[in-house]
Symmetry: C2
Subunit: 149 residues, 2 copies
Amino acid sequence: MKKVTKKELSACPDCACFNIRKASRVITQVYEEAMSDTGLRGTQFTVLVVVAIHESIIITSLAEKLVMDRTTLTRNLKPLEKQKLIEIIPGADRRTRAVRLTAAGHEMLVIALPLWKKAQQKVAKFMGSERLDNLIGELRALEKIAVLP
Amino acid sequence: MKKVTKKELSACPDCACFNIRKASRVITQVYEEAMSDTGLRGTQFTVLVVVAIHESIIITSLAEKLVMDRTTLTRNLKPLEKQKLIEIIPGADRRTRAVRLTAAGHEMLVIALPLWKKAQQKVAKFMGSERLDNLIGELRALEKIAVLP
DNA sequence: TTACTAAAGGTGTATATACACTTAAAATCA
DNA sequence: TGATTTTAAGTGTATATACACCTTTAGTAA
């Protein structure tokens, strides 16, 4: 029976996928802890913000802005809709559906935004602003790999 | 009714949580596409590797190595167990349970490791090795924020 | 030794994620 | 115009994630 050697395995802890998912778990907890009074999850906050920026945006476009699979977004919208923070309205033609914030959604952002800012500042303080900015820039560069064949 | 201004929202796309989760989605797809012949998910590959490195490791320790909530790991072990890639054996005392690879688990790593390496090289080529190493280092530094109060 | 505390683990519940597949409507082509 | 293709969206299924809560067992203190 074949077995991989310890030596071969030794490179795996430097896996980009492992390290980014790991950091993602940790950072998500930092932000969700900061926003725990609102009950908003990290992803939910992001969705609300992008919807707020666009006033009204169709689902496929929103998914593109979020770099998120469209079917994932469909599911992610559900809890926000249940909480009546967003509403789904008819789009330009009969195929499309658009998302927009409700009044409650706007109010939620008023509460959540300072809490988010606190989390962002905590992270910036921990890493240093410049290092954090650079890290985010590198993540943006990395994600461009998505379009490659 | 209060509303946040566009100006206030303009900082949010620089959210560390958003950007790291976004990059995490993209990179996960790169690795899973590369390993699609095996049917292994990114997380599953990582679990197999860490278990292989430790021969046998109790669940709580494994969760710590993975920087993953223990209850998440419990769930993540299920599909690996169902595929008989790992087995759960009694630990040192009656509270503990340990994870170890089966023969099939070892064989799977023999197949998956070169596929993983190809993905890792693709990412390294895209970003540049040095930049990628630096990025991973920064992610490791960032995740240290977990222990803070 | 008994009672309390700490450690290890699992379950209920809810959200996040995406692939394969399906349906419906719009756009384009022959 | 009618047929084909493209676009938008939802569902089924499976995995990933973690909090709150519970049970069992081990360790420790009174």
